[in-house]
């Protein structure tokens, strides 16, 4: 075995901020060999990004402890002056950041940006650098690289930009690549492409990769070694296979148990109670102890050391004191709602031919030159007490569809029958009155609550709007009840949103929606901005509210795992149209439409550790100019001549599945 390319020893980092010293990273050690992929997993605030940035010393407010050592080959990085560091950054160690949109300079062409790196670090001249840039772009799978090299970042899609970032990082053939959440901002099919690319480039260049992520499924696809971080410490380190076969630390176990899946849909998800400890006052004991179901006296008393075991290093007292008997983690028992019986045959919501066409205006007089068909002819039904999930990648029109249902988009056309009323034509006062039946929970818990209002007013906003609960005492009583329902403490009524964590804010949003006793709540990616353990809490909350209050949900998501756990019906959207619609189990087990198949295959999942994700080639076309015929035909592996001519009609298949694909035309 060759020498490790990167050695991190006893790394401890303090960050000085106005609010005091943040003990971000504490005693982290690891080594990376050439060709090895080392994944650091953790929730937000666990110190994983600080660890990554420390390797390049990119933070100007960071203080390193005296024992900290970061060695690149034989060079000790922490003592190096800034001038020498600059020669190492980008040359020996390259970085890819999460947000491809902001990592590229918008006023320079991608070619100029890649050439800059090449000329700086590789000493190439202008011509050579340009030629090399083209070759690099081609090597990261950008079609027509010679033309693309002269394009500006805004002309490229998110996936393309991330590819450019990768080509830039790899331009200097670095020994180590630090990738900080490289695929978090990308869609699943693009994520699969990028992960495959990183993996194949690693094989050819034999570099070490430090991959930072919060997504255990991604880890299971790509990692050689896994390190789980919690509150600034590595709590467990093992090779991938050992880790996923038998995680040792209680935190790792719970983290894996948090993930929703189809099989577990009748049981509540495992949750991790509490929240991360304050990084300004580190606990002088096991940092996970307050949230750990196994914790006993020893855990609250002294700090566990990272135990070097043969295969797994773990920081937990459970493995030092062998005699201690390990209690079982008991899943909370909740009345299962295994089989839902439809009470009425009349659907709560029936949507026919819903369309959202945004006009594209051109010229001085703003004549309409064309339309962006964000939602094109969408129809579905929803019965009360059920959940319909709308799945698709970004840009497929799922959010536009949801907002159209809520009358938030004036360009909406089509027929909506909701709660026995024609919801599509109401307006003015009547519409305002009807709105209480249909509520919404948004994705971003930070922008969905007015920062200048306290919880009491936030939740009570709907009552003011609808003229309900004018009586103060009754209002207060209902408020208490709502807070209890969504699991918030009763004494938080006078706090502002910024005093809550993301998960708690999402609970406030849910309480605000529930305050009007709606029949339908539209959840627009309610968990995608949250950590997995918090996601589990919110998903559980939504499920228990549904069974208790007979709510219906329209659940918009790109996360297949969450959808398979929470939904009863699934509609898969592609470029404004529903391509497949049916009961969740049918769709998850036997997807019919090639796009659904590709989507499910691309989504990394823990069940398919051995299989690399199936990447779908190409990207979603622009909805301004959708491909003629079936919109999916340019990316479809089964495309036939007929697919390029006419959009397929709906075919009803067994098991209530409806699909729009010529492959199933004959079975009608």
């Amino acid at each position: 075995m060759s020498d490790p390319v990167l050695q991190v020893e006893n790394l401890s980092v303090h960050l000085n901020s106005q609010q005091g010293t943040v003990y971000a990273v504490d005693d982290v050690s690891f080594t990376i060999n050439p060709g090895e992929t080392f994944c650091i997993v953790g929730e937000s605030g666990s110190g994983k990004s600080v660890t990554a940035q420390s390797i390049l010393q990119l933070m100007n407010n960071a203080m390193f402890s005296e024992e900290s050592k970061i060695k690149l080959g034989e060079t000790e990085l922490l003592n190096l002056p800034e001038v020498s560091l600059r020669k190492i950054r980008g040359k020996k160690i390259a970085v890819i950041f999460q947000e491809p949109m902001t990592s590229l300079n918008p006023v320079l062409t991608v070619g100029q940006q890649i050439s800059e790196v090449l000329r700086l670090h590789m000493g190439l001249n202008k011509k050579q650098a340009h030629a090399r840039a083209i070759a690099l772009l081609a090597s990261v799978g950008i079609p027509d690289a010679a033309a693309r090299v002269n394009e500006y970042p805004h002309q490229l899609s998110g996936g393309m930009k991330q590819r450019v970032m990768i080509s830039m990082a790899l331009a200097t053939e670095p020994d180590v690549l630090v990738a900080d959440e490289p695929t978090t901002a990308l869609d699943v099919t693009i994520q699969a492409q990028v992960l495959q690319l990183i993996k194949s480039l690693q094989e050819t260049q034999n570099m070490g990769i430090v991959l930072i992520t919060h997504d255990l499924a991604v880890v299971s696809q790509i990692a050689d070694t896994v390190a789980v971080m919690y509150a600034g410490q590595i709590v467990e380190r093992a090779s991938r296979d050992v880790f996923f076969e038998q995680p040792k630390h209680p935190y790792s176990q719970l983290l894996l148990a948090c993930l929703p899946n189809l099989e577990g849909r009748n049981k509540p998800l495992q949750v991790i109670k509490g929240r991360l400890p304050d990084p300004r006052n580190p606990i002088k004991a096991c940092r996970f102890a307050p949230r750990c179901p196994y914790a006993w006296d020893a855990c609250h008393g002294k700090e566990p050391k990272l135990l070097p075991d043969a295969q797994t290093q773990v920081r937990c007292h459970l493995y030092t004191e062998k005699d201690h008997i390990k209690p079982e983690i008991k899943a909370r028992q909740v009345a299962s709602s295994a089989v839902k019986i439809r009470k009425t045959m009349r659907p709560l919501l029936q949507v026919d031919n819903l369309k959202v066409y945004y006009p594209i205006k051109h010229g001085f007089l703003k004549r309409t030159a064309g339309h962006v068909k964000a939602v094109d002819d969408v129809s579905f039904k929803l019965y009360s007490g059920e959940t319909l999930a709308i799945v698709g990648e970004s840009g497929c029109g799922k959010t536009s569809a949801a907002k159209a249902l809520l009358h938030l988009i004036p360009e909406m056309q089509g027929h909506i029958q909701f709660n026995n009323e024609n919801f599509s034509t109401v307006h003015g006062k009547h519409l305002r009155k009807l709105r209480r039946e249909m509520q919404v929970v948004f994705q971003d818990p930070f922008s969905s609550l007015n920062p200048r209002m306290i919880v009491r007013d936030l939740i009570g906003e709907g009552w003011d709007a609808q003229g309900m609960f004018r009586d103060k005492a009754k209002r207060e009583a209902r408020l208490d009840q709502l807070l209890e329902q969504v699991g918030l403490p009763a004494d938080c009524k006078d706090l502002y949103p910024h005093e809550f964590s993301g998960g708690q804010r999402q609970r406030i949003s849910i309480a605000r929606a529930l305050a009007l006793d709606p029949k339908l709540i539209i959840c627009d990616e309610p968990t995608s901005a949250l950590d997995v353990s918090v996601q589990a809490q919110i998903v559980n909350l939504l499920k228990s509210l549904q069974s208790g209050l007979d709510l219906s949900y329209i659940f918009i998501s790109h996360n297949i795992a969450v959808v398979s756990y929470i939904a009863d019906w699934v509609a898969v959207m592609y470029l404004g149209r529903i391509v497949e619609y049916g009961p969740v189990e049918e769709i998850m087990r036997a997807p019919k439409h090639p796009y659904t198949q590709a989507l499910l295959a691309a989504a990394p999942s823990l069940d398919t550790i051995q299989k690399p994700p199936q990447a779908l080639s190409g990207e979603m076309p622009s909805p301004v100019n959708p491909p003629v015929g079936c919109h999916f035909n340019p990316r479809c592996p089964h495309a036939m001549p007929v697919c390029r001519e006419k959009y397929p009609a709906e075919t009803s298949l067994e098991g209530d599945v409806k699909v729009r694909c010529y492959l199933y035309e004959d079975e009608r």
């Binding site: 907002k403 809520l406 938030l408 519409l431 305002r432 009155k433 709105r435 209480r436 249909m438 509520q439 919404v440 948004f442 994705q443 971003d444 922008s447 969905s448 609550l449 007015n450 920062p451 200048r452 209002m453 306290i454 906003e461 709907g462 003011d464 709007a465 609808q466 006078d494 502002y496 949003s509 605000r512 929606a513 009007l516």
Partner: protein, 454 residues
């Protein structure tokens, strides 16, 4: 009664504004606003500058109570303010022409007829200033020094007594330095003592000398500068009051409703801002002058006429300068209305007006506050520029602009007459600098992003 109160329009508006300021200060505020203000008071800079701004406001208040004296049964036609009484007899033209600061003889040589029919050009002794014998050149310096010390003692002792009394009644510890992250009372008191003492010395000296000299018609410059404060402050405050409703209503409506409402409002403000401001102001001032001269029965008094012109200037400045704030507010509203909480509020069935009041306006207030604080100083400066080109306030109104405008003609003189210009500049500079520095702290406190960057 020996006098009769005169209520000028600008007086009424200014006092209303002060009343509003007091009400807003006393009113209970939401917690995030309170926190922001606490942050402001924890800054030494804010505490010091606020004292300076308060000094200017106090001068304006004193100068905004007007009355006419009764002499032999009839009211005199000229209107005086409390400040005039306080500064008397400086409000009278006591000299004939220019005199340098602390001079005892006039600056310009005048023709003096000798008893033997000859004419000699020589400087004349000033009426207001005590004359010292010519053989004792040091006598005047000693006199000035002596009076400075007296003023210093008076000012120091009086201000300290006031400070101690206030600190005692409000139980504020001023002896030990304020800890960081608490209200910086000590800084405030020190600034107060310094300003008060400085003013006391100047005031005491002004009883005996023209401390800043006199102007062309023999008017005391110190008096002029103090009288100019009211004009500057009024233009700064009243104009913002005129501009705010325009900017806020039109800005939020354009951003919130979009569509044709947005088109119309945008059309109005692009048109308005494409006409040179000065041109609009000149035109309006001319129209106003015609109106005033056609109705001598309404504007029967010089003070009334001058006041009308000041008010008109405020309104014109306000009407022409709301566009930039309106633009800012429209853009911010466009951004805010796409926020999820606004969308959620629409989904809850909130009416448009309620929604603007609850979600849009509170989230715009930091921009409004910052712009108002910054606009105040630029408006004070705008007055000076307008007076310079001759379309500012009435020439009989004391203003820094007028002072500079008159003084510029004398800059070519040798030796140069520098004191009018300098006095106006120093007083205006102090006000604008204090207001700007205060605005900076306010901006940092109210704009969450600015606070993060600090």
């Amino acid at each position: 009664m020996p006098f009769k109160l005169v209520f000028l329009w600008t007086d009424i508006l200014f006092w209303l504004l002060m009343l509003m300021l007091v009400t807003v200060t006393v009113m209970p505020k939401p917690r995030h606003i309170k926190q922001a203000w606490t942050y402001v008071w924890q800054s030494k800079l804010a505490m010091a500058t606020v004292v300076i701004v308060m000094f200017y406001l106090l001068m304006t208040m004193l100068d905004s109570i007007h009355f006419q004296r009764q002499v032999e049964g009839t009211y005199r036609s000229d209107v005086e303010s409390v400040l005039d009484v306080f500064l008397a007899p400086l409000d009278q033209n006591v000299e004939t022409s220019y005199s340098a600061p602390f001079a005892s003889r006039s600056f310009v040589a005048e023709a003096v007829e000798l008893p033997n029919d000859g004419v000699v050009y020589e400087t004349t002794p000033l009426n207001y200033v005590q004359q010292f014998p010519e053989d004792e050149p040091d006598a005047k310096i000693w006199d000035i020094l002596y009076k400075t010390v007296v003023g210093l003692m008076l000012g120091l002792s009086l201000s300290l007594v006031l400070c101690i009394a206030m600190a005692y009644f409000l139980r504020i510890p001023i002896l030990k330095p304020s800890r960081p992250n608490t209200t910086q009372w000590r800084t405030m008191f020190i600034t107060f003592v310094v300003i008060f003492t400085l003013f006391a010395v100047m005031y005491y000296l002004s009883r005996f000398y023209h401390i800043l000299g006199t102007d062309k018609v023999g008017q005391d410059v110190f008096y002029q500068t103090l009288k100019s404060i009211r004009t500057g402050v009024l233009i700064g405050t009243l104009t913002t009051m005129v501009l705010l409703p325009f900017a806020m209503v039109l800005g939020t409506f354009a951003g919130y409703f979009r569509g044709w409402i947005d088109d119309v409002i945008q059309y109005i403000y692009t048109t308005l801002s494409s006409i040179p401001n000065v041109l609009l102001i000149v035109a309006s001032v001319l129209v106003l002058e015609v109106v005033i001269s056609k109705h001598p029965d309404i504007f029967n008094n010089i003070a009334l006429r001058a006041d009308m012109r000041l008010l008109a200037l405020c309104i014109i400045l306000g009407v022409t300068s709301w566009t930039s704030l309106c633009r800012l507010l429209r853009a911010e509203t466009l951004k805010l209305r796409e926020q999820d909480y606004v969308q959620a509020s629409i989904a809850l069935g909130t009416s448009n007006v309620k929604l603007i009041g609850r979600h849009i306006v509170p989230n715009l207030m930091h921009i409004v506050f910052i712009t108002v604080a910054l606009d105040f100083s630029s408006l004070v400066l705008a007055e000076a520029v307008l007076a310079y080109i001759g379309v500012g306030v009435d020439p009989t109104t004391f203003s820094w602009g007028n002072m500079i405008n008159v003084a510029r003609l004398e800059l070519a003189r040798e030796p140069v007459v520098w004191w009018s210009l300098t006095a106006a500049f120093v007083f205006m500079f102090t006000l604008v600098l204090a207001a700007n520095l205060f605005a900076d702290v306010v901006q940092k406190a109210f704009d969450p992003r600015a606070r993060q960057l600090a």
